[in-house]
Symmetry: C2
Subunit: 337 residues, 2 copies
Amino acid sequence: MHDAGDRNHRILFTHRHGKLLAPEDFVADTTAVPTPGPGQFLTRTIYLSLDPADGSPAGDCGETGGAGCVMAGDTVAQVIESRHPAYRPGEYVATRSGWQQFALSSGQGVRRLDAAQAPVSTALGALGTEGLKGYVSLVYLAQPKPGETVLVSGAAGPVGGTAGQVARLISARAVGIEDSLEKCEYTVRELGFAACLDSAGADLAARLRGACPEGIDIYIDSLRGELLPFVAGQLRREARVILCGMGAAYRSNELTLGAVLERLVEARATVRGLVVQDHLERLPELIAVVGGFIRAGTFHYREDITEGLASAPAGFCRLLRGESFGKALVRVAPERL
Amino acid sequence: MHDAGDRNHRILFTHRHGKLLAPEDFVADTTAVPTPGPGQFLTRTIYLSLDPADGSPAGDCGETGGAGCVMAGDTVAQVIESRHPAYRPGEYVATRSGWQQFALSSGQGVRRLDAAQAPVSTALGALGTEGLKGYVSLVYLAQPKPGETVLVSGAAGPVGGTAGQVARLISARAVGIEDSLEKCEYTVRELGFAACLDSAGADLAARLRGACPEGIDIYIDSLRGELLPFVAGQLRREARVILCGMGAAYRSNELTLGAVLERLVEARATVRGLVVQDHLERLPELIAVVGGFIRAGTFHYREDITEGLASAPAGFCRLLRGESFGKALVRVAPERL
């Protein structure tokens, strides 16, 4: 239950004032906490996931009466009141209730979480759709063999961190690429990557050759393909390239196709695109396998937590500027009933 | 046997005088017809294949004493004198004896041809490595299902013509792209393509949508990827794109990667590069399957024949200017013992 005086704090998107999204582009308001009708339950948000894909809030205006829209976003929440036969107060769920404290649900698109298996926040990272991207890209699309070299971009993030660590745990050799030395050191020291290259440094191609002296068997691209020209030059025969970044983000890649295509043909390479929504039926497998690694202490992840819903716009803009380190979350409420 | 007075006419490459290769860049000479030693046989060239890939004659100078090099090239030839236990005079072989009338061989890299199965010239086209490219790209890499739409570039040529006709014969729907209306009409009328688009015309994307209203399941690229941006926009879910053009030619593609990558991901597409030398063990299968179609009259091909070795430079330059129509061959000698 919530306190009788509680209001539902929300963050709405207004419009983009400048070239880049800024905290001023959002506005906070409060509404009454809604009351569940038959077949509904009320949730209180605990963690809100910050995702670049949610940068455009269109299409979520149906729930708001005002001029703006409640920002869309994946959340981990707790059921606090229920008139739904399958959900009881106290249960944790992964849902998509957006940038607000309270929300009603009919159970559609909701996934129940077992807090005893893993910290519930992992449902938005390593044990959620981002971890699933890395896991399915690696295991089912790329199909690594023991000893193969697996190169992973965004290696410190939830997609790359999952792909790289699972590669290591199934006897492949994980090499990361990240955008800062600090993140690179983290992937080697904490995540067990064999090496990690700072994409901001000079002479990336030469360093890549040094880190992958026998060439690259698998490349998991969780960004937007900007490293493809470097990677393509060093693909081994029968290499597999998996594009699992944000589809629309790839559009902004202005690199030239030619050299990449030539090397794909020479290497007899396979390039495959992944859309994680096609693979949601493997979430229980991800939770069993990677959740097991987490409990065994052989798999690690990092969260970049912004405290309080009011700070969500600032945290989101930090993420878009590439300044977050680990899965970007907002702690909207403490984990208690 | 050859006549006692015969000389071996040859075409040597000298050097490129202008920006584009021209007949003046070649020179003809004659040498003595060589005599086979033990384990060797002498062949007389019947057909010489003209291939853009042979445009750079480097590496073939070992056989010549002069300043230039005999141009490299695949050939169909007849054994006319033999001290090799496995080859008898009169037999037809596919070999790589280059731009000359006579050559010695130890049998290495030589394939015996059965003139009763199919015209021997097909060993340089539909029943040779070019046909094999189209066949393996389609059947083994793309794996078409009945009713799927297979788009083929270079549809009137030996690679595309094979891929498209085999697609039709195994119940897929073949749509071609060619660089002239005349070639387009040929692929529809003679090769049985459902439609063919002139790549030189305006509004290719719109015409592609018209010809493939349900989208493209398979795209066989036998050129250098220049149509990928058009094709990528209309790929269906789980589409397969096979790049079987010349590896090095892809390098000259200056199109932008971004939009193509975005669509590959959205379509969950697979892109694979093919190098035909990896698949030579399937030549007997190609000859059995496509040779059977040819004998049954359900598969057609076209040859663009230049008469006489002396005209090979002119024919080759015509090919490089994109003016040939069908598999480009030089008839060096008539098909007789």
